[in-house]
Amino acid sequence: MIETKLTRESFHVFQANARNALKQSEQVPAVLICAGTGCIAGGAMKIYENIKAECERRGLAVYVGLKHDTDEEKSLHVKMSGCHGFCEMGPLVHIEPMGVMYIHVTPEDCHEILERTVLGGEIIDRLVYHLDGVAYPRQADIPFYKKQHRVVLENCGSSDAEDIEEYIAKGGYAAFEKALFEMTGEEICKNITDSGLRGRGGGGFPAGRKWEGARKQTSAQKYVVCNGDEGDPGAFMDRSIMEGNPHSVLEGMMIAGLAVGSDTGYIYVRAEYPLAVNRLRTAIAKAEAFGLLGDHIMGSDFSFRIRVNRGAGAFVCGEGSALTASIEGSRGMPRVKPPRTIEHGLWAEPTVLNNVETFANVPLIIRNGVEWYRSIGTRTSPGTKAFALTGNVVNTGLIEVPMGTTIREVVFDIGGGIRNGKKFKAVQIGGPSGGATTASKEHLDLPLDFDSLKSIGAMIGSGGLVVMDEDTCMVETARFFMEFTQKESCGKCVPCREGTKRMLEILDRIIANKGTLEDLDLLEELADTITHTALCGLGQSACKPVQSTLKYFRDEYLHHVVDHHCPICNREKPHPTIDADKCKGCGKCRKNCPMEAISGTVKQPHTIDPERCVNCGACVASCPFGAITAAKEG
């Protein structure tokens, strides 16, 4: 593969060659190792190394990149892919063309995988996903994937994120090329408007209207900014896209640049996502090497450059005006609007600001057409949405479903229901800016789209879905989010700075069973005031968790303030018990307890302090007399 500045003609040649190479590559067995943050934490890099070493030992030549005719006869493809989404089961290894997916793979399994599956075509049952006694060797059959509709994430689990040729072979940069040579800025904006694409970052503002607004500005300098400051705790969709398909984000931004007449783009990425920063920087360098970014792209008059800025740990920077202030090197504090970002954004110039997932949708719309896009999802919220499914659900991970999929389908069909056979209680949607939905039939059958959620006081936010079981106290949950918002409040406006502090104090009081009924009124009043008077969107939505739990889980507040006893918070924590008859007082458990929760004198029966015990089980394992019984699974 020769790196050269592509013209339109040579891009077509390159594209045709890449497609051929992809076709040939697909004839060859491939081992894909998921290299998302989750699987890497589980040891994916070691698995990658082991597979490669194992191949070397056998004298198997391994490809790097796609297969070309000129390549010598090689028989195996080993590559790292983006996030497959099924993080709960990681590290994941995928084998093509069999379509087999192995879960919980360890470096020790590599030898067997290569020997039996890749070379022998045999399935290793122990590494296969099982559910209710049924084995699901093929990824496509696994219930977790079956109900999903992966469009934006499609390439995340199947491509080498760092291979620009593979991206182009799969249709990448074709949308940009089409937009560059065949469409005017106005046409691009109209396409995006007609597609009904709404911002995936929270509010769901129509992207096309935003673009058109920026396009009409007469300023000579305009900017395209990508918000990758995915700050909602419990959300990681954007991270997976940046890591798994970085070129799609670049391409979306380039098309936005064409549409509004901008030559500079910025991607603002959370400091907590180092891998995403690396992958984006690699992708930018590759795109520059091929002349897809830089001056006079593909021989045209259009020039575009993209820079990556790392955040430094401030939730508020997810707000547009705070984010641009941070790119400028200042404190990331929001400002009063209007003027809006499209008129007065980065460096006071007109700026298009969308989040990662929104930009990643753009090339698909231009390439496949407005009709195709509108055929997915609902009338007012077309397309798909990626969600991070977490909490007390069986299958945590990254999912993508058409807009309008119900909460029931997501939690029970894709998520596999609640862990440990517990009862489902609630889903918190949209993190600290969103609200909770209940287990009522009405809520469970609520379609997940921008407008339906708004109708019940929740919002899609960036797409974090935290599932909670019957053992979760909703007051405690509301307090958790309030603590988060209070800590992250930038301090610029009084309602958010002071109001969240007072609300947290009240919630603390309620949790400690020292609250009163009047406290609930005060909470409501404060929430109302903050919502109406805070400066930015984050402040205005900061009280949503409290408001929605007060509305839907009022009885739990009443347990705290009327009964002064919460059946959930005040239940006895499960902990192991020591049988006084069997205990010889040897002190082994006491020494082994990491929490110093066990006390007792030598040769006397020991006891466990339930307050300090974290139920780790170290004492159970350490007792030579079998005197300690583990707690029943709580």
């Binding site: 934490a41 705790p233 990681f236 907590e272 991070a388 990254l398 990491p594 780790c616």
Partner: protein
């Protein structure tokens, strides 16, 4: 007076452009583990901006530390998913193990600093903690302490 030559180098690398203030401080912190008063003053001089401006930005962002950190930085995730899957006992266990109290975040031997992080985005692996940036998945208080013991033993062997 500490050696500030690398501060000048880092500033120059970023064209002494005030827009790059955050990136400059990130680089300095990566090298020094924290932002010293001298370093911040030198940055202000190099960028021709006030020390107040530099200080205001350094104190705004969670990631910047104006105090020296321990050799190993432990971050326990306090994000929603980790919270729901009981990350607090992990934090408490580490906190007690390191003998921390009050606002103290660094152990007396200067080996460990304990912090929380809002969300690492590894929610599928909750609860998680990182040691020097490396993510450890599905932690328990017990596993966390074992990990610290291991690091401490390694450090002791090295001495």
């Amino acid at each position: 007076m500490e050696d500030l030559a690398h501060i000048n180098e880092i500033c120059a690398q970023f064209d002494c452009d005030p827009a790059n203030l955050i990136a400059i401080m990130q680089e300095i912190q990566a090298a020094d583990k924290y932002l010293s008063e001298q370093a911040l003053t030198r940055v202000a001089e190099n960028l021709h901006i006030g020390t107040a401006k530099v200080y205001s930005v350094a104190t705004f962002y969670e990631n910047f530390s104006l105090e020296p950190k321990g050799k190993h930085v432990i971050k326990v995730c306090a994000g929603t998913a980790c919270h729901v899957r009981r990350s607090q006992p992990i934090y408490d266990a580490v906190h007690d193990y390191l003998g921390l109290a009050g606002r103290k975040k660094t152990s007396a031997d200067g080996l460990f600093t304990l912090e929380t992080v809002a969300c690492l985005g590894a929610c599928g692996l909750a609860p998680v903690m990182t040691v020097d940036g490396e993510v450890h998945a599905k932690m328990t208080p017990e596993a966390a302490l074992a990990l610290l013991e291991e690091i401490r033993a390694k450090e002791e062997r090295a001495v």
